[in-house]
């Protein structure tokens, strides 16, 4: 059945509007420069980035090992996405507001979070989110919700006339959820000092990027919200950093928000509870390993004569020490009391909860007697 019998396509059309998007990359897949070395990327800057990326990887490995031996809960490794977290950590200024999702280890370390605190969090202890910059948000599990908080924080900065930005991370899967779009939209119309970084690691658990969205890029989601969008090579820590600098500049110039799509690859399982071999080929993963960010930066450091195998060995040892130390502190942390679950329910203790506190008291007594 032919539906549109009298149809002449394009009749009555005039051109309305055009858009274009850029891609940022400095370091190619073979660690070759594809663009001039940026001014910010001093030797020290490169070395510091590298060190934190390695620390990130060592930490993740250890966390997985802890989980496998029953000493940690479910854990989301950031294997292969270390440049993402570290670039953000490098670019954040002290008084910015950082609104993470749950795979931002590298950024947390640069933000001054203790490794033992992250372990506490994933180990099932609320105290893991107690420390850190007062204005930063804790790890966020309900997908995409954090971006509305970041929009609110950015609005607060603007209302109070402060110069900082709010920086928020989200996964490729997260870009499908309403909160992502609602927040980008308000950032566009209110011209908020908001920087949205998408860790496009190509999967949302088992769902590949192409089944998440029919658009060619996630960066183009910026267009519908009237904010600036850009895509960057997420295995190139400098590209991510450059994009953030430009985004901050836009915010400072009152030009509003930026959406940065960071192209990475999730080399590990989604979390320790996942088995990625059920839904993707080992061939695909093997190919992704060829592009991974640590190796790429290491090659550059070698090329620049900033690195050698001795330094590498020392760094690996230092990182292992730091992580082992954190693990020791984590494992030695005294448990919270059962009653602590009632703490911080409200700013003041509600009198009507006394009864339940008594019930818990009896319960604890029974459990103690029983063991």
């Amino acid at each position: 059945m032919k539906r549109a019998e009298h149809l002449v396509t394009n009749l009555g059309h005039q051109s309305l509007v055009q858009f274009h998007l850029d891609y940022i990359q400095f370091l190619g897949e073979q660690s070759q420069w594809v663009s001039e070395r940026p001014g910010f990327a001093s030797d020290d800057w490169l070395l510091k980035s590298y060190e934190y990326m390695v620390l990130n990887r060592v930490f993740d490995q250890k966390a997985i090992a802890l989980q496998r031996t029953g000493q940690l809960g479910t854990f989301p490794s950031s294997l292969g996405q270390e440049a993402f977290g570290v670039a953000i950590g490098m670019a954040l200024q002290k008084d910015d507001v950082f609104v993470p999702y749950y795979r931002d280890q590298g950024a947390h370390f640069l933000r001054g979070h203790k490794m033992e605190d992250l372990l506490l969090y994933w180990g099932g202890d609320e105290r893991g989110s107690a420390a850190g910059p007062k204005q930063d948000f804790p790890v966020c599990v309900p997908i995409a919700t954090q971006i509305t908080h970041a929009a609110g924080a950015a609005a607060a900065l603007k209302i109070k006339g402060q110069q900082q930005v709010a920086m928020v991370t989200i996964g490729d899967g997260g870009t499908s959820k309403g909160d992502f779009f609602e927040s980008l939209n308000v950032a566009g119309v209110w011209q908020l000092p908001l920087i949205v970084l998408v860790n496009n690691n190509q999967y949302a658990i088992s769902v590949p990027r192409e089944m998440q969205c029919g658009a060619g890029t996630l960066a183009q989601k910026a267009i519908g919200a009237g904010v600036h969008g850009v895509q960057v090579d997420g295995n190139d820590v400098m590209a991510i950093y450059q994009a953030i600098l430009e985004a901050r500049q836009r915010a400072d110039d009152h030009k509003g928000a930026t959406l940065i799509e960071v192209m990475t690859y999730r080399l590990a399982d989604h979390t320790t509870a996942d088995d990625a071999s059920r839904y993707r080929s080992s061939q695909e993963v093997k190919e992704a390993w060829l592009k991974e960010p640590i190796k790429r930066l290491q090659s550059l450091l070698f090329d620049l004569k900033l690195w050698d195998s001795e330094k590498e060995k020392t760094l690996q040892a230092q990182c292992t020490d730091k992580v082992d130390n954190a693990v020791k502190n984590y494992l030695n942390t005294e448990p919270q009391s059962p009653q602590s679950m009632f703490d911080y329910l409200y700013s003041e203790w509600p009198e009507n909860m006394n009864e339940q506190l008594d019930i818990l008291g009896d319960k604890v007594e029974r459990m103690d007697n029983h063991h």
């Binding site: 109070k160 308000v186 409200y346």
Partner: protein, 337 residues
Amino acid sequence: MTVAKNLDESENVDAVLLDAVNLALHYEMARDESVVVLGEDIGSNGGVFRATAGLKDKFGFKRVMDTPLAEALISGMAIGMASQGLKPVAEIQFMGFIFPAFEHLFCHAGRMRNRTRGRMTCPMVLRAPFGGGIHAPEHHSESTEALIAHIPGIRVVIPSSPARAYGLLLSAIRDPDPVVFLEPKRIYRGAQQLIQNNGQALPLDKCFTLREGKDISLISWGASISETLQAADVLAQKNISAEVIDVATIKPLDMRTILSSVATTGRCVIVHEAARSFSVGSEISAQVSEKCFLNLLAPVQRVTGFDTHMPYFKNENYYLPSAQDIVASALKTFKES
């Protein structure tokens, strides 16, 4: 509706409930510059009920923000603002549209303090008009306070008079935790009351005993307080002395006041518009029965909406509790004992 220019600056005003909300917002925004207001149509339009009238002119667009049409966003941004030292008072235009805010209320607003062991808190207010009886379209008349009361870490507050609206809204804004503040729109333009516009707040964890009595306890909140008071009058004519308690602070729930009333009277009728089952009334009835076991002279009665959808407005009066319904249930407690 009597909101007049500069009414907010007067000392003593005759105000309906809607005026009282407006006055409290004016008062607190003037007193505390970290208070900001956001929502749909709350700026230039002053709110579809005019609850936020005059705020934008007085405090400017930076503190009085018309948002895009997105309730998840409104609630989520309020959390973000609260985290940075502001005190957002967000409006959901009608409670029937509050559902997109649930994820943020449940997963974040209510638990930010707990999750960060006190580092980050969420001093926000989410206001919403609710309830039936004004011949509104579909979705504009529901009472779903039970859903919110079940959420840990949230306060749920419902005023039933201009004075309580004024005092409770002030304390809701000043409270360091998230408060869902539900305004019974059927009595938005009900009886006037003289309000001392002096910034005096009311406690957030106490029921209000509106009328003392010794034979039966009538427990209610929101718009149904009117019918409950009427019922008490009718009962008085029958020589039954009814105590009337306005729960007002639904969560945390002040059962102490309710229980000590029922312990004295031995009889209890709970009145609310919301659907009957799995409701705030269920909790009160359960606790009254559990804890006044030896004092109760008759089974607790509930006068409520039905477990159906709120019917469209042609039939809404058949859904809403009336004074006669309350009287009939009250009388039952005397027959059955």
